[in-house]
Every structure is written in C-alpha cells, then in structure tokens.
Symmetry: C2
Subunit: 354 residues, 2 copies
C-alpha cells in the first residue's frame, strides 16, 4: 500500500469538484481533479509504487463487488444477480473520477484565468473476474467481450445530450499510469472535444478539403504500398506501426472500411476488432515481455452526422521511454526505435492461434 503523502494539506481538498483550467500562456487546458488524491496512490512516484499485488486486497476481483460503486452494466451468467459474482465484464462508475455528472456548462474567469466545472462521466470497465494483470493473456473470447462492452457504453453515452465526446482508454502497468493491477479500462465522456482529437479532426478536415479524400483512407493505401510498417493485414483492419510514433512500437489499428464513428459500428466489426486487438497485444507481449502500455480509441464526436473526412481508429502506445525535460519543454517526443524496425519485429512474432 502506498505511503501517506508528506503533506496533510494535499488531502485537504478532496471535496473540491474537478475543475478544468486554461493555461493563459498556451491556451491549453488541464484538469484539476483533487478527488484523484484520495486514490490508494496519491502521488505515483518512485517512493509510492502502486499496489499491483495480491488477490485478496484487489477491489476488482469477483466476490469483491462491494468494493466498487454499483454496476452500470455487465455481461453475466443468466442466473447471476447484479453486484454479485457471475459476471465476465463489469462496468462501474469510477470512484475517483476526474469529471463529475453535476456542474455548470460554462466558462468562468476574468478573461485571463479561465476555468470551468469538470463535468462528465467517468466509468471503469473491469475486464475479467479473476485476478489477471496482463490483458494480452486473457482468452480471445474474453477480449472480444471487453471490446463489445466498450462499444456498448460508448454508444449508450452518445445518447446523452450534453456529452460530446467519449474517450475510451486503457492503462496497463505502472509505467503506463495504472494504479491497480487487475485488468481494467476506462471511459471519460465530456461536454468538450479534447484538444488532441480536435487537432486530428481539423487536420483531417483540411486534408479532405485539399485532396477530396479521407486522410485515414489515404494512410491505409500508402501504408499498403510502402509495406515496411505493416504488422498485420486482416480483411477488415490494417495494423501498422505509426510513421511518427511518439513511443517505441506505437501501433495503430485502422479499419479499412471508412466509418467516422466507432460507436456506430456493426456488431460483427466490433467482434472482429476484439480479435485483432487480441492478436496485436499478444504480439507486443511476445516481443516486449508484458510491456506497460496505453490503448485508446479515437473516434468522431457525438451528435455529428457521419463524417466523410474522419475515420475512427485504435492507437496502442507501449510506454517504454519516460518523457523528460525536453519533451515537457517542447511537446516533441523522442523515440529511440525506428517504426520500421518495430514493425519488422512484430510482424515476425508468430502467434500460436492466429
């Protein structure tokens, strides 16, 4: 268990609501989430390693359902009851949320220092009932069910009028920011489209206006021709290492069929995505031996018509290097591994069941 942080004052504001603030010198927003300070690990530094350990203290294991808020959704055995065992995948509100359902949807401040309430929905997807910490080692069928749960929750949240974007993500391993070992993913839905998504949407929009094609459809065509970054090529998905990966072995899963919204995908394509994610993560696990990683879905904002210029996709970012001062000073990531080398390694990882 983590040490108590050095200063009691740090815990003095756990009742303060989450707040978004704008940096006046860059225009970039940050999320102040004092409730995160009440997590088992307050400050996740060298001296407070997260508890990745024993089954008996794990709040996510089957039989420990009382440790989490009541469930929002679950895939369960037909005869099992909500908030008891018998589930395969279980979705609950995040107890240490970075956004909260209540709050005002407007910007406050004096024009210089701007802030607003951190409004939204923060959910936790518990990915297996038994204590497994490496998602890649779950059975493929279990991974497919998890991806189906992501789709179901993202689709559900898309119907809430004030939410504009649902960000699905997964942190595995301490180096990727996980604070609990048991396999889980998260979903943060907000009334704002986050900055990086906004940048991608604008980049794709400009590309479409200039070239008349979807940027991601073009990327697929070019990666096919180029070939050196292709990791896996299935009927529905192309898997490539990112041309300008921010981390070694950054890998993208791009659907071949143009669709702007992941939450509007057909069930068969969702299941197929689950199988491709399983295959890619098993390759990364085999090549890098259980690396810490983040996985995220980029998709189009809610309440938009289908977009011609933007194309949902999955990004998997192994966290093998620590961003240092140059990265924080410049926003330029330094990657020591050529994406073409990474693709060559991943392509060659032969999987027993694929």
């Amino acid at each position: 268990m983590a040490e108590i942080p050095p200063h009691p004052l740090i815990l003095s504001h756990v009742k303060v609501r989450p707040q978004w603030r704008r940096n006046p010198t860059t225009g970039q927003w940050v999320i102040l989430a004092p409730a995160r300070g009440a997590r088992p690990i307050l400050l996740d530094d060298d001296r407070n390693p997260p508890d990745m350990s024993p089954l008996h203290s794990c709040p996510f294991c089957a039989g420990h359902e009382w440790n989490t808020p009541p469930e929002l959704f679950a895939y369960r055995e037909p005869d099992s009851l909500a908030n008891g065992p018998g589930w395969h995948v279980r979705v609950v509100p995040n107890q240490f949320a970075v956004v909260q359902p209540e709050g005002e949807l407007r910007v406050h401040g004096d024009g210089f220092f701007l802030f607003e309430d951190g409004v939204g929905q923060h959910e936790l997807i518990i990915e297996c009932p038994h204590h497994e910490t490496n998602f890649a080692r779950l059975p493929e069928t279990q991974i497919v069910e998890v991806v189906q749960a992501w789709h179901t929750r993202l689709e559900y949240l898309s119907q809430i009028p004030h939410l504009r974007y649902g960000q699905l993500f997964k942190n595995q391993g301490r180096g990727a920011g996980a604070s609990v070992g048991h396999c889980h993913s998260q979903l943060i839905a907000t009334p704002l489209v986050p900055a990086l998504l906004d940048l991608e949407l604008h980049t794709a929009d400009s590309f479409f206006k200039q070239h008349g094609t979807c940027l991601f459809c073009d990327l697929i065509a070019r990666e096919h021709v180029e070939g050196s970054r292709v990791v896996l090529d299935t009927r529905e998905y192309l898997v490539v290492t990112a041309f300008a990966g921010r981390q070694p072995f950054e890998t993208w899963i791009v659907p071949k069929h143009h669709r702007s919204h992941f939450d509007r995908l057909e069930p068969a394509s969702v299941a197929d995505l689950g199988r491709v994610i399983a295959a890619v993560l098993k390759k990364l696990d085999a090549a890098l031996n259980d690396p810490p990683f983040n996985l995220l879905i980029h998709t189009s904002p809610y309440h938009e018509p289908d977009l011609e210029h933007y194309h949902w996709h999955v990004e998997i970012i192994p966290r093998l290097t620590q961003a240092a001062g140059y990265e924080w000073a410049t926003n330029l990531n330094i990657n020591p591994v050529l994406p073409e080398d990474a693709a060559h390694i991943l392509k060659d990882e032969v999987l027993p069941n694929y």
Copy 2:
C-alpha cells in the same frame, strides 16, 4: 547496469542519423533518435531501472573525464587543464545526441509522410565535480555557477546562423526521465523552433495585438493581486505555482523586468536567477523530499530583435504523477493538487539561508 533489451534488432540502427518525422494525422513532429538506444538504459521501463548508483562507475565524476567527449567549456581552477580534474561546472557534447551537427536543412517526403534530418547541437552540463544527485543540495554558489554556464552556452549558440532555438532543460530523478544520477542538465539547439514554444509565442503575440501588453507582464500583475499562487517575491523575480499546472507543484519563475531573451540577460540578473532557482528547488526538496523534476527555460528564438510581446521564464515541473492513457489520448493533463494548495505549502517552507 541495465539489462540487454529483448530484441537485438533494436540496436541495429544505432548508426542511423536522428530524423524528425511529422505525424500526418496531427501535424505534430517527433524525433527519432536511434543513437539514444546506445545509452546505458535503452528502454527505461520497470525492468530496466537507470543506474543511479555508485561513485566508481559514474561517468560524470571528477577524475573520470575520459568517459565523456572532450569538453566544450568549463569553469575551472586557474591552474587546471582541460579534460582533467579541477573544474566546477563542465560542458561536453552529449554522446547519445538526439540531434547532430551534420545534416540537410530541408523537408523530405511525398507530401504525406514528411521527415527531415535531426540537425542541431546537444550538450551536457555537468553541474558538480563530486557525486551529488540532488541539485537542491548543492551550495548556492555552485547553483549560481551552473546557471551562469547555461547562460554562457545559450548565448554562444545564439551566434550560430542556422540554429534558431536553444532549449535548456534538466531531468532529475528516474521519474523525470534522467538516465544518470549525477547532477547534470542539457541543451538542445535546433534550426526549428519547437512546437510548444511556437504555441507560446503565438499566444503571446495574439495577446499583445489584442491588449497592447506583454502576456507575462500581465500575468505578474495579476498574480500579485491574486496572491494565492505566489511562492516567492524577490526584487527581480516572481515565483508562482502555475494557474493551470500540468503536474502537482508546477512552479514558474518569471522575471519582473520585461526581457524577451534569456541569452541577452545581464550577468547580475543571471546570478540572481541562480539564487532564486536555488531557493525554489530547496523549497520543493523540503516539501516533497527530493522529488523527481524537470526544469526548463522558455525564451525567444535566436536572431530575433528584442520582442515586446514575449518574456523569458523558467518552468519547474515536479514529476509526481504518471501521464496515463487519457493524457496520451487527449493532450489534457490531469493534476490532483490545486496550485493554490501547493503555493501555500511552498511559501511556508522556511529555508535556513534565505
């Protein structure tokens, strides 16, 4: 010493030059620096902790000068010889550089996948001759000499015609991306102005056009009135926790006198900055017990006249939380500590000699 990485192929391209690549889906650049792979820690993950340890193997200790490339600059005892002991602060080329002096200054590619040679100068400032790993615990006079060395090198590089920006930064502790424990800082000078600096310059330029004042001069005035984020207020510098800090206890040192370029600063102000940096780092050390941190200087590009709208400053970013999937997916940082709480704690840390 770090383990050998799992795949020999990762080391196959150490002779490949550094390359900048543009992500076609965002326009953001990354630096591919395969030579970084030859550092003692190739992949700095949980299984390869950096060597923060013993004196006898430290390449930066006095008496081990043969472990680094020949020095570019040093403050030394009058009777000592270059590349031998007798120095206080020593500057050498970084052996594992992310940019290289040679290369072409033009963008290559097909219009979609763009890249260019990673040209520039990457220097290492060794901050003390004896084996100290906590910069805050160096004597104030030593810290002042280090800051003078930063100024001297940044000024020197400003005269090289093809370099446009010199980024000074410091990584202390494994959580801040350091790979060597012995106190050191670094300087990467490039023909390009890095993305975040460019964003700050543009934000400040827009602010000046709209309000007729420098954004940073305005920030100082507002922080004075507001008061709750002021950590230290000296004759020449205001120290505040950042209103929208990306990490807990993010602290900025802003000069009260408007100056666009750090490298054009008078010697007295450089020395005074050294004393303020010493005081702030000693406060952070006292409050957080040797936290991992990055320190960086943001200043105006080389070969520009003095700018009315931009104002150099120092940012100190303790690295107390690990960016996770949401941050990588969105570019939004999550900070669990209110900057006003952090300022309150830091203000109250009374320092013996200040």
